[in-house]
């Protein structure tokens, strides 16, 4: 081993150790637990094979409520955040007085911890003290019990997530926009192309690779959303807004069945890996076609 290789290994080792200790080992431990009889209060640790996986995959709630909710939430939040983030990026890509102030203001949600935001939103949508109902009543409309029905609760969760993540899309897409070559835009201007056609046929196709990365990263993250759903609704009313991570958490830490929760987590991980690969492939093909 030459000096260069040793030096390289010395640089990599700390990061590799951290990754191993805090990512790989916990994942392997969790996977090991999922094949055993392992409750949190009385871990017998006996091997039970795929029993926990079979239980989760046969659970009607998991199949008919949890997975549809998770995918529905993922699609909705990614689509809305992408759309709004793109609009913000396009706006901030233009020069106007006070742009730095708007940019700072737009980025504020990124600086708020999701749990804090969720607590704040829960009280904002409280049917008695909430500012949202106060505004509705001020407009002469009837107040709404936001958190007692499935779709209104889902809407509150979705709005919170979109509010938190739109600036992230905006920031990345703005960086993408600012790195685009100027020549195609100058050519379009010379050809007197309208703003819409410039956006449709130049900006959007050139921005697609950045959008693909954003969509894939955010979709994976949205699939495992926990904090805001737990804080706003706890997966309720009843189990109407329960998503995959809440299911795994409840099994592990409310029902204390760590093995079943781990099995759910592994199933979720497999689903999201397959989904992310498919999504990446589809979106990448879309980018290739647009080139």
């Amino acid at each position: 081993m030459n000096e260069k290789t040793r030096f390289m290994l010395a640089l990599i080792t700390p990061a590799a150790l951290v990754l191993m200790l805090f990512q790989i080992v916990p994942i392997l431990t969790g996977a090991n637990v999922s094949f055993r009889d392992w409750t949190l209060h009385d871990p017998k640790r006996t091997w039970v094979g795929l029993a926990n996986y079979v239980h989760v995959l046969r659970d009607v709630e998991f199949l008919e409520i949890v997975l549809p909710n998770t995918f529905g939430f993922m699609f909705a939040t990614v689509a809305l955040s992408l759309l709004l983030g793109l609009m913000i990026a396009l706006m901030l890509n233009k020069r106007f007085p006070g742009r730095w102030l708007v940019q700072s203001f737009v980025l504020l949600p990124l600086m708020v911890a999701p749990v804090i935001a969720a607590i704040m939103i829960r009280w904002m949508f409280n049917d008695q003290f909430g500012v949202v109902n106060a505004a509705l009543e001020g407009l002469g409309l009837a107040p709404i019990s936001w958190l007692t029905q499935r779709w209104t609760t889902f809407l509150v969760i979705l709005l919170t997530d979109v509010w938190l993540w739109t600036p992230w899309f905006g920031l990345i897409l703005l960086a993408g926009l600012q790195s685009l070559p100027r020549e195609p835009f100058e050519a379009a201007r010379i050809d007197a192309a309208s703003a819409w056609r410039t956006f449709r046929y130049i900006t959007l196709p050139m921005l697609r690779p950045v959008m693909v990365v954003c969509i894939v990263i955010r979709a994976i993250d949205a699939f495992r959303t926990f904090d805001i759903v737990w804080t706003i609704s706890g997966g309720g009313p009843a189990r109407a807004t329960e998503v995959f991570s809440i299911y795994a958490y409840v099994e592990s830490f409310q029902f204390l069945n760590l093995a079943r929760g781990s099995a759910a987590a592994v199933i979720g991980a497999i689903i999201i890996v397959i989904f992310a690969l498919l999504l990446y492939r589809i979106l990448n093909r879309f980018v290739e076609v647009s080139k």
Binding site: E3, H41, Q128, T148, G234, G236, P237, V250, N257
Partner: protein
């Protein structure tokens, strides 16, 4: 970098790291000799109980370290430390909800001085398999029916469900309050609406009704009682309270105790039912608009009950088995001091509304303190019909399945209630049997 220099640098780093680890271990071992760490939930009553222990700790040169945790993660976190034999905490908060889950991981406490002065009824959840106790009571947690004394005279306080509706509606019509009754209802707050009315209507969750012997419940295959008429009646009662009589807020199915308490403390509701341990909070002028205007009364009863019922459980302290013997001994001395400190327990009641664990103090306290006399009449003088939880490992799953059923029934149409209850029988049974 030459190889020799590289190797010596690595050796130096390893030596420094080892030195640090060893010295930290030695110093922490020295410090731990006279230190007790308490893992607890941040709550005025638990802090008041810790204040009693702090007096003993200061007098005996022991450092008492408080490690507060949120309720939502407490049980999970402490369960993990117990099962791994970790001695992170010398004393931990203990609760009947998870009393049986921890029985094999806790030190027995029968030899703690003053334990004989504790009420025996709430200790059911805390016996281990050898019939040894694993808890030292800190305070009683009793569901208490609170009413506004400035709005309702003692003789007008509802004694039945029907009166709860009629008195609430009268006060609403008179414009004195926005809501009649408010209470927590979502998961982990089921006691403060559905369950108190369930027991007050002579009903229960599993068959045989009011049975808490796990063997007998298992023999009955953990059959839910949720389709029984007594049970359907209480779900219908709450549906009507929210939608027909409108004495409770429409959002109540999503309320935890924080939301419900906020409405009561804002002076917008006449009645609530919550643990007596919130009495101090209701009388805190910094947080409440109804200070000094709160009375306590027995639970109103449903159509199937003849007399009021109550629930009477405890919060307690426990010592993990993994704690070294010396610190176990020290912890027991501290808990003995807490159990024997009558002045401290009375102060805890006066500061927080936490009823003392030493029941021999109760008659004296009731004679001197009108609030305790009211609580004693409202709760301790009533006979509990059963315990306010079940004590088997799958109880949290049963609670969740029950809560999902009730919230689903209350969120739908009134005529669908029997159907929703019937649909959930199998789910509750599956939850109870771990399938």
């Amino acid at each position: 970098m030459p190889e020799r220099q590289f190797r010596s640098s690595i050796r130096l780093c390893v030596a420094i790291a080892l030195g640090l680890v060893l010295s930290t271990g030695i110093f922490s071992a020295q410090a731990q000799d006279r230190e007790l760490k308490v893992g607890y939930m941040k709550n005025p009553i638990q802090d008041a109980s810790l204040d009693i222990m702090e007096k003993w700790a200061k007098a005996n040169g022991v450092k008492l370290t408080r490690v507060p945790m949120a309720y939502s993660v407490f049980m999970e976190k402490v369960t993990t430390t117990l099962t791994t034999g970790n001695d992170q905490f010398d004393v931990i908060w203990h609760n009947d909800d998870w009393g049986q889950l921890w029985k094999k991981w806790l030190e027995t406490t029968d030899d703690v001085r003053g334990i004989d002065n504790a009420d025996q009824w709430p200790l059911l959840a805390f016996w281990d398999d050898e019939k040894k106790l694993t808890v030292v009571p800190m305070a009683h947690t009793v569901g208490t029916f609170f009413y506004r004394t400035d709005l309702v005279k003692p003789e007008e306080v509802p004694t039945t469900f029907a009166q709860l509706v009629s008195v609430s509606q009268r006060l609403q019509k008179e414009g004195k309050i926005k809501w009649g009754y408010v209470g927590g209802m979502n998961m982990n707050n089921t006691w403060f609406s559905l369950w108190w009315t369930m027991w007050a209507n002579n009903c229960d969750i599993l068959k045989p009704l009011f049975e808490r012997d796990n063997a007998k419940l298992a023999a009955a295959k953990f059959e839910p009682a949720v389709t029984a008429p007594c049970h359907r009646e209480i779900v219908e009662f709450w549906w009507d309270a929210i939608n027909t009589h409108k004495i409770s807020p429409p959002g109540m199915t999503a309320y935890g105790r924080n939301e419900a308490n906020a409405i009561f403390m804002a002076g917008e509701a006449a009645f609530t039912l919550v643990d007596s341990t919130h009495f101090g909070e209701f009388n805190d002028p910094k947080r409440s608009k109804i200070v000094g205007k709160i009375g306590m009364a027995p639970f109103p009863v449903g159509p199937r009950a003849q007399k009021p019922t109550s629930w009477n459980e405890i919060w307690g302290w426990a010592i993990p088995k993994g704690v070294p013997a010396e610190r176990k001994k020290l912890a027991k001395e501290m808990l003995s001091a807490m159990m024997s400190d009558e002045a401290g327990q009375i102060e805890m009641w006066k500061k927080t509304g936490g009823p003392p664990p030493n029941v021999k103090l109760w008659p004296k306290l009731a004679a001197d303190d009108k609030d305790f006399a009211a609580l004693k009449h409202a709760v301790f003088d009533q006979t509990p019909i059963t315990h306010s939880a079940y004590y088997f490992a799958e109880w949290p799953a049963v609670h969740k399945a029950y809560s999902d059923m009730a919230i689903a029934a209350l969120s739908g149409k009134r005529e669908d209630i029997p159907k929703v209850l019937a649909e959930h029988v199998e789910r509750i049974q599956r939850a109870a049997t771990g399938n």
